[in-house]
Symmetry: C2
Subunit: 301 residues, 2 copies
DNA sequence: TCAATAGTGTCTATTAGACAGTATACC
DNA sequence: GGTATACTGTCTAATAGACACTATTGA
């Protein structure tokens, strides 16, 4: 690919141009990554026969510095000019959850002007899904400043207003994050406007108790995406251990979707995504359950 | 919300901390927006009776400066520290397509280190969908440096390699952009790795003729997203004029999905999304077609 | 009249929801 | 035996695909 040498209106070749290029003339924003690291864990079982309930958990870090000192924030940090955003996200993941190889997906890049009181900060959010049993316990669990919070997301209100040529839909969504005595809550207003055939969505934080910056918005967005993608992709398996029962899998779906599912239909639908093994659960106080493994080739039957 | 005054390990309050905060100590990347402005236009009809074919078009700008001088690029520009990313995207849209109010959605933020030879550039891509009939003709159409290119996206090769605990799927996807004599092509390699239950996707540009920077990757990603979202959302209507026939709508779906659809099933499926009017097409050389309007309330029947 | 599109009816295959009913370990 | 979960069978409703058939215009 030997291209002819092209000169610009100043008579410079590309090489000459790049040598004279001054990158410092414009003010630049800072770029950070925010990690949403989700897991599913077992809650205490009520009686020896009952199965333990599952809960969706999110890793948060207590801020030890201004701004938002003492509040809980998503793990994250600045992207250096010598690493890609993905690399920064991986680095953050390694340092916060001590995990190298896990599922990670870019969610959204948040770029409002007043997001951070220090300076202009643009932040790419990434969602990571971790199998709890593979987690290094030391990270997050005991550390004074990093904790797994049980995450809940509930709709408080839905208001529809008709306009001349469309409507406005305003939903108030409450985020709850709890870890033992600690309980953080926030309300996010999600406004969907449909005006003159154009659809627009905006998110505003109505109130936020104990959650740093605009992280309530990001968490609301992430849970929505997780709920959505679990319906038509296989991401849920990233939350499962290598061997699992179909009941456990169903519980994971139920806790994320926030509704009960019928076992028969669930099994039918997920059958192609799993391979059965010859192993069974034991000592459960009831009929043992067959253990399954994820089948990565399910999409091409 | 009067919070107690909290002091950090240096004894500073948040206000004091922010006053002493020096934003300039770290090197920062530049942040830009890249706009993928899609339309659907009518191609020449072969005979007076035939309906005109539809084509998917994308707006590209000829670069008048280094780097990539003379190549075609997505419209875009730097995000200033005093505007949000959305505002920068809107501004770019206004200046390139002269449209204020249209559908826009953030796609992905590209942050590899060597993307731009000038300096470290992180770029948020936005997809905008425009009804061609609402477009200001002066923008894009005649301008020497801005043109609508017919966009095509075709799979050239699919290769599946089995690994010990998973597989790797490598697809070569060819992007074609043409405007009269001008014809740009690029090949993007999309590698999906499924290894140890972790799914990862990466994109590499294999070759790129006439397309600036890594824009081939971005275009491939955008067309994929468009194809995907048209199946389960109503975004296609942003490409339609206020009144349209169901056949036109079907043609738009067909050109985006790259396959033919059966009219009966298509009409059944889209019926709830549209409202019929009393108007008809005329002078078509065949049976007139009823005109429909988008029904923004379709989701709650 | 006929070419070309518009629009409908219906049969079939597939899938999701509902729920009853059977199976099985462990205390 | 009783409890709690595991798992299957089957009826029904809804939906998608296929395709034949009818309708309607302008040249």
């Amino acid at each position: 690919m030997t291209e002819p040498i092209i000169r610009d209106h100043n008579g410079l070749t590309e090489e000459e141009f790049l040598q004279s290029y001054d990158a410092g003339i414009y003010e630049r924003p800072s770029v950070t990554v925010d990690m949403l690291i989700f897991t599913v864990c077992d809650k205490q079982q009520a009686n020896y026969r009952k199965l333990p309930e599952k809960a969706l958990q999110l890793l948060l870090i207590k801020r030890g510095e201004h701004p938002c000192l003492g509040q809980w924030a998503l793990p994250g940090g600045f992207v250096s000019v010598r690493e890609s955003i993905e690399e920064a996200a991986q680095r953050e993941l390694k340092s916060e959850a001590n995990i190298d190889n896990l599922y990670m997906e870019q969610l959204f890049t948040w770029g409002d002007v007043g997001r951070d009181p220090r300076t202009r900060v643009i932040s790419s959010s990434y969602m990571a899904l971790v199998d709890r049993t593979a987690l290094d316990v030391k990270a997050g669990d005991d550390a004074e400043d990093a904790r797994w919070f049980e995450a809940g997301c509930q709709m408080l209100q839905e208001k529809r207003t008709m306009l001349q040529d469309g409507y406005e839909l305003e939903r108030l969504i409450q985020i709850t994050l709890s870890h033992e005595e600690e309980r953080l809550t926030a309300t996010v207003k999600v406004t969907t406007t449909f005006c003159g055939r154009i659809k627009q969505v905006r998110r505003d934080i109505v109130d936020s108790h104990g959650l740093a910056f605009d992280h309530a918005k990001i968490i609301e967005y992430a849970i929505g995406r997780l709920r959505n993608k679990i319906e038509y992709t296989d991401i849920a398996f990233h939350l499962m251990p290598p061997l699992f029962t179909l009941s456990e899998l169903q519980q994971v779906y139920e806790v994320i979707l926030g509704k009960e599912l019928l076992a028969a239909a669930f099994r039918r639908k997920l059958a192609p995504m799993v391979t059965e093994t010859n192993e069974f659960t034991r000592d459960a106080g009831h009929r043992p359950s067959k253990l399954y493994r994820f089948n990565p080739n399910w999409e091409n039957h």
